[in-house]
């Protein structure tokens, strides 16, 4: 076989991706119930005892569970099966856990779901906690990745592929709370602004707002 060896391999596009659902409908419903509880917050963010619990926006939960569903779809058959089984079993866990009551997770109120998740996370049996973490981390990994949720983390770039916001002039030593801090102190002296090295296909350097 004699390959033709074209010089233009750099123009070859990426392999096509396949967006495949990996969750069973029942497991997906459990994932929704879990995400709602795991991301619930109090109505007023003042830490008051007894403040009403509010579920996260449906669109947010749909996006998170959609990303999780696709991630599971990219995994191998045994992992897909294992995760689906784990979710279905997790739904029934409140029924068999001491003090869990008799209704499955999906049938519970938001507050009851939250209470259950808190107990599972701090359970004395490491294997129970481990099973919960195996659901929690992959499910929530895209939760704080874009939009308002990303801003909630204090991340000061518009998106994850954005370049770092760099000061154009040296900032004053007193940085008001809420603004990004000055660059890291360096034993070599003040940090210099990084030179712009814009390459084709990369976004331009964002200006600090």
């Amino acid at each position: 076989m004699t390959p033709s060896r074209p010089d233009h391999w750099r123009d070859i596009p990426s392999a096509p991706s396949w967006g495949r659902s990996g969750l069973w409908p029942r497991a997906r419903a459990v994932a929704v119930a879990v995400a709602e509880a795991a991301l619930a917050t109090h109505e007023a963010d003042d830490g008051r005892e007894g403040a009403a619990l509010v579920a996260p926006a449906d669109t947010w939960v749909d996006r998170i569970v959609g990303d999780y569903d696709e991630a599971v779809g990219h995994a191998s058959g045994p992992i897909r099966f294992g995760i689906n089984l784990l979710l279905v079993a997790f739904n029934l866990l409140p029924c068999i856990m001491a003090g869990g009551g008799f209704s499955p997770l999906r049938g519970r109120t938001l507050a009851a779901r939250l209470d259950f998740l808190e107990r599972v996370e701090n359970h004395r049996l490491g294997s129970v906690t481990m099973a919960w973490i195996a659901i929690k981390v992959p499910l929530l990994v895209s939760a704080f990745e874009e939009g308002l949720a990303l801003r909630e983390t204090g991340f000061d770039r518009p998106h994850y592929a954005a370049r770092r916001a760099l000061p154009v002039v040296a900032p004053s030593s007193t940085s008001p709370e809420g603004e990004a801090p000055p660059p890291a102190p360096s034993p070599e002296g003040p940090a210099e602004p990084l030179p712009s090295r814009r390459r084709p296909g990369t976004p331009a350097l964002e200006a600090r707002p």
Binding site: K136, S142, E145, E152, T153, P200, T202
Partner: protein, 510 residues
């Protein structure tokens, strides 16, 4: 143009079966596979690289959000885990599955193998090919191609600087790391999900171009299922193109060559060897992982730990105790997902993210891992943590927590599920010595090694000093699975150095 005439073939778009031949087949396009392929192609060999994962252009993956990187570049979408046997935590593993392999997902950290490890291999195990001096030329070649440079102090994040201050108060000196970013790192703090500006020299940027320019061909989405044997030696591989339309019959390929080089990594190479029927006791055993932990600490001031090089300093102060301290950070959304708490507690912690600093440590482990055939095409991974290593892991968590407190942290979130935050020295003692179910420890691993180890005689290993299988001539292994023990440091440079050496030797005998 037919299949494999193109420099890169996407297996998902191939609708025909294939039979072909070449000089060398390299299975796996990660750090070791691309190293071997590039050296052999540059020496005029006709090389075909078969990779199970997809080819994704750098200018595409540079724009991925972390969760998309997880889906498209990580094996099992980032959900690989070693099942703990006995008193062992569940260990999550980061493995790449794409052209570029795990080199796309590393923090870019570059260490040579510590001298004492080289000496052990050379003197105690009789492996002169893995001696420090024997590998010097290969080290230099890898470091030149990868643009290995020391991270300037000004690129350290404020998160890292806090831990440096704490370490200094404990009398622990931190040293600047070397990384494969040349002078191009902008400190965007997300190297392990693909560098947004392409500063990191993953092998798809540092080796692949030369390999293709010299005529190597790469087929992605190509799953090798078995090694072909003829006249008592390996003569090729057979497998199938992955994907295509869902439910459509997959097309096969059969390639023949003078040498087959397995570079599938320490988790997947043993599977192919076992399917071949190799009887060696060492196949799939003695897997080391470098179990690692990190602590997250809350400081009174805003740190914005994402501004700065992801990994910039290390300390070998505890090397004699089998512990290596590495500065680290991670993408904010991944950090948020792994914070303790649910509901309002989690949201409250997420809102404090700018105040969090992170630092990590890893353990030079004994090798209690085993790779076995799994229920599907992925192997099953088991790991029994030695009591010594569990102690080391807990000790490393204590050291990290102490560094954070000495650096001024208000509280430290230990990587132990259900454990209260650490705020005082008394808490530190409890962290290290109180009874604890190891399965509560949040443990990660990044450097699987040693599952098809090199040996100077056939009984104790899988390959000889040229990387050729003791049981099957013509079949070579050149990935991390040949390293005979854990190395105790980040393994990319060690793996690529050994692969370079093996490629040079292979070229001499072809």
């Amino acid at each position: 143009m037919t299949v494999l005439d193109a420099p890169i073939t996407h297996g998902r778009t191939v609708a025909t079966s294939l039979r072909a031949s070449c000089d060398v087949i390299v299975v796996g396009a990660g750090a070791s596979g691309m190293t071997v392929a590039t050296h052999l192609a540059e020496r005029g060999r006709d090389v075909v690289v078969l990779e199970e994962g997809p080819y994704v252009r750098p200018d595409d993956y540079q724009r991925f959000a972390p969760s998309e990187s997880l889906r498209r570049l990580f094996r099992e979408a980032g959900m690989v885990a070693a099942l703990g046997v006995g008193a062992t935590p569940l260990i999550t593993l980061t493995l790449g599955r794409a052209v570029g392999g795990s080199s796309l997902l590393t923090g870019g950290v570059c260490f040579r193998i510590p001298s004492d490890v080289h000496h052990h291999w050379e003197r105690d195990l009789g492996l002169s090919a893995l001696g420090e001096r024997a590998l010097e030329e290969a080290y230099a070649d890898v470091e030149r191609r990868m643009s290995v440079t020391e991270v300037p102090a000004k690129m350290r994040s404020r998160s890292t600087n806090k831990f440096i201050e704490g370490a200094a108060a404990m009398g622990v000196e931190m040293k600047s790391m070397r990384r494969n970013t040349g002078a191009d790192c902008e400190g965007l703090g997300r190297c392990n999900f693909g560098c947004p500006v392409g500063a990191k020299r993953s092998v798809d940027r540092s080796y692949l171009p030369s390999a293709l320019d010299h005529g190597a061909r790469v087929a992605s989405d190509a799953l090798v299922e078995r090694i072909l044997v003829g006249s008592g030696r390996a003569v090729g591989v057979a497998g199938r193109w992955l994907g295509g339309k869902f439910g459509a019959p997959s097309r096969g390929f059969e390639l023949r060559a003078r040498a087959v080089v397995l570079c599938c990594g320490a988790v997947h190479t043993p599977g192919l060897l076992r399917r071949l029927g190799l009887r060696g006791e060492a196949v799939g055993r003695h897997l080391t992982l470098h179990p690692a932990a990190r602590v997250v600490a809350r400081f009174p001031e805003r740190l914005n730990g994402w501004d700065g090089t992801l990994q910039s300093v290390y300390s070998d102060r505890y090397h004699d105790e089998g512990i290596w301290l590495n500065g680290v950070y991670t993408a904010v959304n991944v950090l948020a997902a792994s914070l303790p708490g649910v509901g309002p507690e989690l949201r409250s912690r997420v809102a404090q993210m700018p105040h969090y600093g992170v630092f990590g440590a890893m353990v030079h482990d004994e090798g209690g891992g085993t790779v076995r055939a799994g229920p599907g095409r992925e192997p099953a991974l088991f790991y029994r943590m030695a009591p010594r290593d569990l102690k080391r892991l807990r000790r490393s968590i204590r050291i990290l927590a102490e560094m954070a407190l000495e650096g001024g942290a208000e509280e430290v979130i230990p990587p132990v599920f259900g454990m209260h935050a650490v705020r005082s020295r008394r808490d530190l003692d409890r962290l290290e010595h109180d009874p604890l179910d190891p399965r509560r420890i949040e443990c990660m691993a990044f450097h699987p090694l040693g599952s098809a180890r090199m040996s100077h005689e056939s009984r104790s290993g899988v390959v000889d000093e040229r990387g050729e299988c003791w049981e099957l001539p013509g079949l070579f292994v050149a990935d991390g699975s040949v390293l005979p023990t854990s190395v105790g440091v980040n393994s990319q440079i060690p793996i690529m150095t050994v692969a370079t050496q093996l490629a040079w030797r292979l070229d001499e005998v072809l």
